[in-house]
Each structure stands twice: as C-alpha cells, then as structure tokens.
C-alpha cells in the first residue's frame, strides 16, 4: 500500500470512528477533497463536487431542509442540461425547482469554472446520488455560456 493509500485508509478509519461507521448500504458519501486531490485518482467530478458543492448540498446530495435543496432525485438537476448549466453559471433563486421551495440560501454562481470542469461536475451530479440523467459535454457548457450576460458586480 502506498503512503497515500495508507493515509487514506487512516482517514476512512478516522471518519468511521467519528460517525460510528454507519455509512453502509445506499450511496457512498463523498469523501472530502484534500490537499492532495490534484493527483488523486478519483473522478474529477467527485473532486469538484467536494470542493464547490458538498458543504451546502452535503455528502449524500440531500441538501439541508430549509437551507439548501437536494440534488439527489432533483428533477431540475436531471432535466435539460443547457438550462442546468446556465443556472449553475448564473446562480440565484430562479431555477424551476426552486420557485416554490422553502430553502433560504441563494445558489452562488460558478461561471469561474472552466467548460471542462463544469461538464465533469454536472455529469457527476446528474449521475450520482441515485440520479440517472445524461452526461454533459464541455461543448454543451460552452454553448450555454454564450447565453450568459456580462458578469455581475462581485
């Protein structure tokens, strides 16, 4: 076992101690992105999720009631890829799934991510957590990006 493998095993054991090792069956929770993530063998979508999405939408994609909506089972997330890409790049409250939602916190914009990263990330959330929608290509993200307005004040 490599040094990193040993380290990862130690992290898993540590996490099991903390959460009483209950993550059996169902979806495997997303491990946190670590400093070594750039050289990690895990799929890039998972790493990007850990870095940009997990702290709000949580390791199981279920979100937090009254705070952030679920990705798991989300009809919007699994719907039209172009509309999803546009929403993730622009953020806000105005996605189709949120019109009547009670969740309070705004979705940030992720237009700073590259077309390739967004494609990996969107593909990941459309196919993880029990979701089963089509992959998204970098070309599709690039095409959606042409509809974005100028960057708002940040």
């Amino acid at each position: 076992m490599s040094a990193r493998g040993l380290r990862r095993a130690a992290v898993v054991i540590g996490a099991c101690l903390v959460v009483a090792c209950v993550a059996v069956g169902g979806e495997t929770p997303v491990p946190p992105a670590t400093a070594s993530s750039a050289t990690d063998a895990r799929p890039p979508g998972q790493l990007l999720y850990g870095k940009h999405c997990l702290s709000c939408h949580q390791a199981d994609g279920r979100g937090v009631r009254n705070m952030q909506p679920a990705i798991a089972g989300g009809t919007w997330v699994q719907g039209d890829a172009r509309a999803l890409a546009l929403f993730v790049m622009s953020g806000g409250f105005d996605s189709a799934s949120r019109k009547d939602s009670a969740e309070g916190n705004v979705m940030p914009a992720f237009r700073q991510l590259s077309d390739a990263d967004l494609a990996d990330l969107l593909t990941y959330v459309r196919q993880k957590f029990g979701n089963g929608a089509s992959a998204v290509s970098a070309a599709e993200v690039a095409e959606a990006r042409t509809s974005l307005g100028p960057a708002p004040i940040s």
Partner: protein, 413 residues
C-alpha cells in the same frame, strides 16, 4: 493535518463521553448528568420550534405546522390532550402575564390566556407586523422583559453582506446597508397593538441572526447567542481551508446592551486565535484585528456552526443549586462544517454568576443526532431547537426533526 484533526475530535468525544453519565436505559437514547431522567412528552405536531409552559403545566408549542397546546391530565409527564390552534407558523412562543406571545417571519402576535382555557378562544392580536418577508434568517424570535418591553431579533438576510451573497470572492458592502433594517435587535412596547417596524427603535446592531434571545430576570438584562457566519473557506479559499471553516467562527454569547455593536458583518470572533478578526470580505487576512473596543467581545464563543437556537436562564427550583440562574442553550447542530464531521445537536449548560460566565460550559443533554448517516444533517434523529421550564422546575426540550418533546427532571437522591 487532517488525521490529527480527526484524532483530536475523537479524543474530545471520548473525553466528553467519559465525563458524562452513562445513558440511562429509559433516557430515550439521550445522555444526561447523573440524577436526571427523561420523559417523552409528545411527538407528532411536525417540526417544532420554541415552546413555553404555563403555570398550570400546559405546554404551548410553535412550529412549521402552526401552534399547538399539550396537556398532561394524569401527571405522568406525557401529553394526553393535544390541540392545534391559530394560524401562526413560526418559531417564538412566550407566555407573558396572561398573554401568549408568538411570532412568524413577519410579525409578533398575542392571544389572551383565560383561566380554564386550553386553546385560546380570543382573537389573535397583532403587536408588530410588516417586517419585510425574507428567505434567510427570517424568524422573528423575541424576548419580553418584566415590563412588557419587546426585543425582536431581526436577522440579516445575508451571510456576510457581500455584494453577491455567498459568492466566492465577492467583497463586503461598506457600510453594510442591511444593518439599517436588519442584523440587530429592535425594541417595541410589547403591550401596544398594531405597530410596524417604524414604531420600533434599533436597540443593538451587528448581529447576524440571534435566534436564541432571552431576558434574564435576575440580572434585568438581555442576552443572546448569535449564529456566526458560514463558508469562509469556499468564499475565500486563499485564506481559509475546510478545517478553518469548520472550527474558527465562534457562535457568540453576549449580553446585549442598548447601543451595542456585536461586529457582523465586518468581523467575527476567531476561536483559534482567541480574538476578533476582520472578515475576509472587508480586507481581513485571517489575522488582522479590528480597532480595539469597537465591537464587544463575547462572554463565551461556542464552537463554529453549532447553531444556537434557544437560550434559557434556569430559575426553576428542582435542579441542583449550580444550575440556578445559569444558562441552558439548545444547539440545533451544524450543516456548514461539512466535509468535516457535523457537530452541535446538544443542550449545553453555561454556569453563570451575577450575569457572567462562572466556569466552562458543560454538555447537559447529548445523543440527539444519533448516528447521522453520511454526516448529513437531515439524517439526524433529532435536533434540539427549543427550551422551557415547567412549574415544577423540569426542563422541556423541543426537536425540529419530528416534533419530539422531552421533559427532563431531576430526582433528589
């Protein structure tokens, strides 16, 4: 780094478990200090929020499904009669003299409590209405002093007053215009009806969201435990990492004084450094301190993201002497600590003497969250959200996951 952090958490958990009494077989899965016992009063009114107990023992409960009242008719602690009433879906519930004061996101209301009535039959009266409707930090929790002065928590509809809320790298608005109408405590005459926010006065500012707000009758002073800010790591990744975000922004416990400023959004109390720092949105570099004396330091800075949702000064007669006039705090539990292990989900006791902390806080009731699969808050078994004291001195705790209500009593030995 990461392993040592986990090791620290584990060892802290072991110490906490060793320090607490073992869970009694009948404690409903909760751990409590020796000598305390638990009765499950009720579960079934949906997500509960705050509660209060009348002199006759009737329990008035607020929550997402509306108001309800619970009565134990045979003295076993369990509710035998449960009635829903009114049309207020919100958080705060406070009995003041012969009135039941309640609130939702946009107003404070009251019902007359007439002798012999379980459900109030009188019309709902509006004390203050027309707070702006907001999606975030909208609960208008409040406290009433002994004269009926009403102190309303008007939470800020923002994380840190960025130009774009919760956007990576977005800077803070300076001065923060949100503070004109939010992010503090507004004071009203709670005995007058049909007021609007314009009838109130800003009593204190710089408070992101003080859900846990309470009048301390022994000290004749207002106190609050404030929800600290989220996401220093994802908003400013060059300054903070995930472990920083999970551990550094204290949940600040303050005495709230007229004209006080508690530092949001310009600063937060960094529990690692042990002092207040300038927020990254306002030019902070993870170390820089604000001008000395500009913002109050907390009486206690509780761990980041624990989510203090109710505060109670114990004045009952049945708990041991050390609890007298001390503070119980219900911590709803974190979500923004992810990917680090979530924390909070407990009731803490802060010993107090003459209105000041007189020792380290103690975990009073724990075990609410259960195993919490996948480190996900929605998988918590229970989340403590409301506290009240009954006429016999028992402590009542309400849960927001299922609406479970516990009565915690002390048996003299």
């Amino acid at each position: 780094m990461r392993i040592s952090f986990i090791a620290r958490v584990v060892s802290a958990a072991v110490v906490a478990a060793a320090g607490a009494a073992a869970a009694a077989a009948d404690a409903d899965g909760l751990t409590l200090p020796a000598g305390f016992s638990v009765v499950v009063v009720e579960e079934g009114q949906g997500p509960a929020r705050h509660l209060d107990v009348a002199a006759n023992g009737d329990i008035y409960l607020g929550g997402g499904n509306g108001l309800s009242v619970l009565r134990d008719t045979n003295g076993d602690g369990k509710a035998d009669v449960v009635k829903s009433f009114g049309n207020v879906k919100g958080t705060e519930v406070r009995i003041f003299k012969d009135w039941l004061y309640v609130s939702d996101d946009v107003g404070v209301y009251r019902y007359a409590l007439k002798k012999g009535e379980l459900v109030p039959t009188g019309a709902r009266e509006t004390v203050v209405s027309e707070f702006p409707k907001e999606r975030q930090h909208a609960d208008k929790t409040f406290a009433l002093d002994d004269k009926g002065t009403l102190y309303v928590n008007v939470g800020a509809p923002s994380n840190s007053c960025q130009e774009r809320d919760r956007q990576e790298g977005s800077l803070g608005r300076n001065p923060c215009p949100i503070l004109e109408k939010y992010g503090g405590v507004w004071v009203f005459d709670g005995t007058k009806l049909n007021q609007t926010p314009a009838n109130g006065r800003r009593f204190a500012t710089g408070m992101r969201n003080a859900v846990a707000i309470e009048w301390n009758p022994a000290q004749k002073a207002l106190y609050a435990v404030i929800h600290g800010r989220d996401s220093i790591d994802t908003l400013f990744p060059a300054l903070y990492n995930a472990e920083d975000n999970a551990t550094r922004q204290g949940e600040e416990f303050h005495q709230i004084v007229d004209g006080g400023n508690y530092g949001w959004p310009y600063t937060f109390f960094d529990t690692k450094l042990g002092h207040r720092v300038i927020a990254p949105e306002y030019g902070g570099d993870a170390k820089k301190e604000p001008e000395a004396g500009k913002y109050a330091n907390p009486l206690v800075a509780f761990p980041a993201h624990w989510a203090p949702n109710d505060l109670l000064f114990y004045s009952g007669k049945s708990f041991p002497a050390k609890y007298q006039n001390g503070a119980f705090i219900a911590f709803h539990g974190s979500w923004n600590r992810a990917p680090e292990p979530q924390a909070g989900y407990k009731v803490v006791f802060q010993p107090m003497k003459e209105g000041k902390p007189s020792g380290a806080y103690e975990v009073f009731a724990d075990g609410f969250a259960g195993d919490m699969k996948d480190n996900s808050p929605d998988n918590a078994r229970y989340r403590p959200v409301g506290l009240a004291v009954g006429p016999d001195g028992s402590l009542y705790v309400a849960d927001s996951q299922k609406g479970r209500i516990w009565r915690i009593a002390y048996a003299k030995k």
